[in-house]
């Protein structure tokens, strides 16, 4: 692949735009690029594309891991009611629409949609924990593109 820097940057920007990643920092030879999207709710990507050699090829991607963040401040509930199974368990396959938990405040319970597709890696909070807005609640192993 032999592209000029400018074309490469443009292609990267397009790919970034289309992807679900919200923030990315790339160093490639003399080029350093940092891009961030307007905060898309509920997701944060810790995926970093690492730099490689100087002819502009993209580096290998680490298995992407995303976090599901709390959409509200309040009390986290892992299950729909005390007698039921939790919404998701570690290892569960989820899609963007899967409800993974609820946050309650003043007796109103707001569902937390996963917002990402993949499998639940780790549950970072316990049923009944107080959580703040944007607090990471789950890590999700997302599918490779």
């Amino acid at each position: 692949m032999d592209k000029t820097d400018k074309e490469w940057i443009q292609e990267l920007m397009n790919k970034f735009q289309q992807s679900e990643i919200t923030k990315i920092k790339i160093r490639c030879g003399e080029i350093e690029l940092e891009m961030e999207k307007e905060a898309s709710r509920g997701k944060k990507s810790s995926g970093i594309i690492s730099e490689t050699d100087t002819d502009g090829q993209e580096g290998s991607q680490n298995p992407a891991e995303e976090e599901i963040l709390s959409p509200l401040v309040g009390t986290f509930y892992a299950a729909p009611s005390p007698d039921e199974e939790p919404f998701v368990k570690e290892g569960a396959e989820i899609t963007a629409d899967t409800v993974v938990g609820m946050v309650e405040s003043m007796k109103v319970f707001t569902e937390i949609p996963a917002g990402v597709q993949g499998s639940v890696q780790k549950i970072l909070v316990h049923d009944g924990d107080f959580v703040e807005y944007d607090q990471p609640l789950f890590t999700v192993r997302t599918e490779q593109p």
């Binding site: 905060a39 709710r41 401040v73 309040g74 009390t75 003043m106 109103v108 703040e132 807005y133 607090q135």
Partner: protein, 458 residues
């Protein structure tokens, strides 16, 4: 008496910083509720604890009651301080705090609602013998009614939203032709901002000064007046410069206005810090405008004028403690405040968000700067454009004005336009120096003032 140990501060910027200071001095743990847009601001660093309660939009963070209450309860706060703006004068919020076992640092929901209904507050004042601006006894409900009322009191008139405040929901009408549009616009603005579009009509007072009385009340119903603030230097009901004492104050006037303000506070069953706003005409007659049931932006003026800490006193009265004074306080010397906003006077005062590349506040004796800014701070587009408040306190008015001019000259801000050039210009006006700036002055002379400002005249 309830001992407060942990206060959740449901506000941001300079007032949040101010409340945190007061908490420190009272030995109370400060818990700051902030939106994700304010994550990297000074108050978050200052607070003992902090909690992110929502996205940048105020209606989903600072104004979203379930999130503020959720944060307060989750972090086991005893009390909530609402600051000014946001939920400070929301009777529902105060009521929910009361019911949820959180001490609301402010008056009761009942007082808030009573004084929050501007038309009802006027009616109450008339009942207890406090003079009010001539106007309709209640809301106007039809075009005919408003035309008749305005005709009776004489133009120009001011259409005001009953649920309004902070200058919103107000329109003037100079002639009967302008009245219908004024009523419609005021009503719409109020409905959007406050949820209710009822309006009443007042005579538009010309050549008056805006003079407000700071009061403080305790749970036992004792009320003290802490003197006046003259806020006539305003533009479109937004205050630019405030001072205490008022240039047209006399001992008798202060006493009478103080009495009226205290009467108003007692009639509202008030507890805590409050401000009763009046207009004073050239004959020295004063008329009730409205009562603000919160700590105000310009509270430092009174603090420096009488030598007290209003925020600490608010916290103490909220705990049930009695007021520390038994007599009214009188301003000493002369205190002036300038509100420095990130607005461009040359571009219709458009709020100008940006990054403070340089932020060097002035320093000096008897000089106070209330701010939550530092170099690199962001003036975000989501909230107000306040950068800082500069307050000076000197022995005489002339010294205070000169001291303020110096302070503004030393206030080095780069990255956003500010109101400093405008304020410097106003301070240099003969009308201001002579204490003749009334509430209409700045607006009327704005073109000239801006022209002189551009040309760098002083």
């Amino acid at each position: 008496m309830k001992q407060i140990r942990r206060i959740l501060i449901a506000n941001r910027g300079e007032i949040a910083a101010r409340i945190i200071h007061a908490c420190r001095e009272e030995g109370i743990t400060s818990i700051l509720a902030y939106s994700s847009a304010d994550k990297n601001t000074l108050p978050v660093e200052m607070a003992d604890e902090s909690v992110c309660i929502g996205p940048p939009r105020a209606d989903r963070s600072y104004l979203f009651i379930p999130s503020v209450i959720g944060a307060a309860k989750g972090l086991k706060a005893d009390a909530v301080h609402p600051g000014y703006g946001f939920l400070a004068e929301n009777g529902d919020f105060a009521e929910i705090c009361e019911e949820q076992g959180l001490i609301f640092i402010g008056p009761s929901s009942k007082s808030i609602r009573l004084m929050g209904d501007k038309a009802a507050a006027r009616a109450l004042m008339t009942k207890i013998g406090v003079p009010v601006i001539p106007g309709t006894p209640g809301l106007v409900h039809s075009a005919e009614e408003s035309l008749e009322a305005a005709g009776d009191m004489g133009y120009p008139v001011l259409v005001k939203a009953a649920a309004g405040g902070g200058g919103k929901g107000m329109r003037t009408a100079e002639t009967p032709d302008e009245l219908a549009a004024a009523v419609h616009e005021a009503s719409e603005e109020a409905r959007k901002a406050f949820g209710s579009g009822g309006v009443y009509i007042e005579k538009f007072m010309k050549n008056v000064h805006h003079v407000e009385i700071q009061i403080m009340a305790d749970a036992r119903g004792h009320v003290i007046s802490l003197g006046e603030r003259d806020c006539s230097a305003q533009r479109k009901h937004q205050k630019l410069i405030e001072e205490s004492p008022s240039p047209l104050m006399t001992g008798t006037l202060r006493e009478n206005m103080g009495k009226a303000a205290k009467k108003a506070a007692r009639a509202a069953g008030y507890c805590g810090a409050g401000t009763v706003e009046f207009v004073v005409d050239r004959q020295g007659q004063f008329y009730f405008m409205e009562m603000n049931t919160r700590i105000q932006v310009e509270h430092p003026v009174t603090e420096m004028a009488v030598g007290t800490d209003l925020v600490r006193t608010m916290i103490r009265t909220a705990q049930g403690e009695p007021l520390p004074w038994d007599k009214d306080l009188v301003p000493r010397g002369w205190t002036i405040e300038c509100r420095i906003n990130a607005e461009d006077p040359a571009r219709q005062f458009a709020p100008s968000p940006g990054v403070l590349k340089v932020y060097e506040p002035p320093r000096g004796r008897d000089l106070r700067v209330d701010s939550a800014m530092k170099e690199g701070s962001v003036i975000s587009p989501f909230y107000d454009s306040m950068i800082a408040k500069v307050i000076v306190h000197k022995n005489s008015r002339e010294e205070a004005i000169n001291s303020m001019e110096q302070a503004l000259g030393q206030f080095h801000i780069e990255g956003v336009p500010t109101t400093i050039p405008l304020q410097k210009q106003i301070l240099s006006l003969p009308a201001f120096r002579e204490g003749r700036v009334d509430t209409a002055y700045i607006e009327t002379h704005l073109k000239d003032i801006l022209q002189n400002m551009k040309e760098g005249k002083s």
